[in-house]
Symmetry: C2
Subunit: 367 residues, 2 copies
């Protein structure tokens, strides 16, 4: 690994001070912001995430805020998921597509009120697309990036930690719902959500000034719970089949190719700009799709570029994320495979940087 | 400095192999792509850039391509610079603004033909804004990111190196003009431009497969010229007053605040979506503006966040980029200062991370 050069362009977060004090060892850059990738080691962080509780600086999940009478109309223009039944207090995972049906982002939409939404984005400047559409259609809506920085609490002891800081009622938040809770006189939107399968919450921290007081309060309250600073874990997220925009999918893919067809209501999502382009793929299904892949051999190197997946001489897919899983004793991977070779148990060859390896298509992810 | 974690999301470039072989020591991330920041040391790279010639992997300057009958109209919608006199073969530095006049990017526009443009972008997903506007206005234009990766040749010996590979006629390219040259049977757009004041070229390499053959040819031809892999140099670009989007300016600033008023023809840029919002600032001038700043004391630490600039107890500006300049024997810096305190020679205080320092406003940059 090489060093990352600091600059203002790679934005720090309201929690960076805490992250540094906790001994962060590596970063990635996400939405022009620093995102920690490892504290002790990826393997130690993984084990700890599955056994205790971690506080994650995911401020890089920036918000695109929609405010005004046309917010709901604009939100529906962005996604093929039918939002008509969505109520304030709910969070929806929403594929965002352009007019060709290509994925622009895969955020969580937070409906704060009928006329106010947050879109909690993955790594692309979705703000630009949303502003462009709002302007082009002369919608009566304000679109901006507010000073809101998510802090995630993840792991099996997340409920206990959160209850210690916000009170027991935080335990009642249902999956992908949110409530508003007080911290030192400030309202905080807290959702039961997060980029792991270990359970937990995301706190939408409004106002950077309250970031470190909250960080310290969580660390203090979590002493008996073995709380530690953490971050999205490469191994755990692959085991769980949590896709990463820019790694496992991009603008060249439809939601259906990404296995996100269940979040698309192409027939009824009236107004979605990508609806027409997606109608056929929604009916016929895609010809390539995301698959869980198991790669033979010892721990594979880091996947910093697509690895071709071959059936003999023919390229039938690619691996986009891979890691050695201590719990499953194999290399877990995410890739995209053509229909002709995507059935469970199909044996293929992946061109890893250290040579070809056998890879087997699985029916589902590990968690 | 912390380590950067490799992943496919931080895209490699067609030249990454050459960059690694040349011993790159640090990276930043720019348009979701790796951009080298240092090879030998920032100071050694700086000295060498001013004396010899360097090959820069600036593939991260991604292109937004406009094709079709409405390309010209769309291009003018994006910028307050009047493009009516621009001819194919010319490059224009164009501030790009949203409907509020806020800077979205500060790219170089390359007019390939009346109906075909490349926008060679700074660090923001401008593609999304351009696509949104094109879709909202139902323009007859295709907008996409092509497989084009700029490679810059910078330094006083750039002409000699380029002539050795492309022939002597490359010397005739005028500043911010381009020509089309052959390399191994492939057409390459070559412009006299680049992100330094040492002179040189940018080669728009179409097709990633030809990247390393070109890299090797340049290194081979430059042996006698002390050619070396390089990258945009922090010290030199501050001396030269070359702004960096995301560091020195962002969406909250108008072009006029960025000192880019000379690239705005607000009265005549008919169709620019930010024109109305910019009319007043174009007439009255901004109340804060980019300034060259000289910071007292020994070498300042890296500027990874805005440093407040104070007049007594009052915040009157900020420093956004800073570095120790060996040639000028001072800390050179870029900042934004309020009108009340921006006159040449004004002495202020900058809150550097290692304590307050005296800072003096200069009339112009160093180069």
């Amino acid at each position: 690994m090489a060093l990352i050069s600091p600059s203002r362009r790679l934005r720090r977060t309201p929690f960076s001070e805490g992250v540094e004090a906790a001994g962060v060892k590596g970063y990635t850059v996400y939405n022009h912001m620093l995102l920690p990738t490892v504290f002790r080691s990826v393997e130690e962080d993984y084990r700890h995430l599955k056994e205790a509780v971690q506080v994650w600086d995911v401020a890089c999940e920036r918000q695109v805020e929609l405010r005004g009478p046309d917010s709901g109309r604009l939100m529906q223009m962005l996604t093929p998921r039918d939002l008509r039944g969505m109520l304030p207090g709910q969070c929806y995972y929403v594929p965002i597509v352009d007019e060709t049906g290509g994925m622009l982002n895969d955020p969580v939409a937070v409906k704060l009120a009928e006329d106010r939404w947050w879109i909690s984005i993955a790594d692309s400047d979705l703000l630009m697309w949303v502003k462009g559409i709002a302007y082009g259609y002369r919608l009566d809506v304000l679109v901006d990036e507010p000073d809101v920085s998510p802090l995630a609490i993840q792991g099996p002891k997340a409920d206990d930690l959160m209850a210690a800081v916000f009170g027991d009622s935080v335990r009642d938040i249902r999956f992908f719902r949110f409530g508003v809770f007080d911290f030192q006189g400030r309202d905080m939107v807290i959702a039961r959500s997060g980029y792991s399968k270990q359970g937990g919450f995301e706190i939408y921290v409004e106002g950077g000034d309250i970031g470190m007081p909250l960080w310290h309060a969580l660390m203090e309250a979590g002493r008996g719970l073995d709380v530690h600073a953490g971050c999205p874990n490469l191994i755990e997220r692959i085991e769980a089949g949590l896709l990463s925009y820019g790694n496992d999918m991009d603008r060249s893919h439809t939601p259906h190719e990404c296995g996100l067809g269940r979040f698309c209501n192409t027939a009824t999502a009236i107004g979605c700009v990508g609806r027409d382009a997606l109608l056929r793929v929604a009916q016929e299904g895609p010809v390539r799709q995301i698959r869980a892949l198991e790669i033979d051999g010892p721990a594979a190197p880091g996947c910093d570029r697509a690895w071709s997946v071959m059936a003999g001489e023919r390229r039938v897919g690619q691996v986009s994320s891979a890691a050695w899983s201590p719990d499953f004793g194999t290399n877990v991977a995410i890739g995209m495979v053509r229909m002709t070779h995507w059935d469970e148990g199909t044996e293929l060859t992946v061109m890893a940087p250290d040579g070809p390896r056998r890879v087997v298509v699985r029916e589902r992810f590990w968690l």
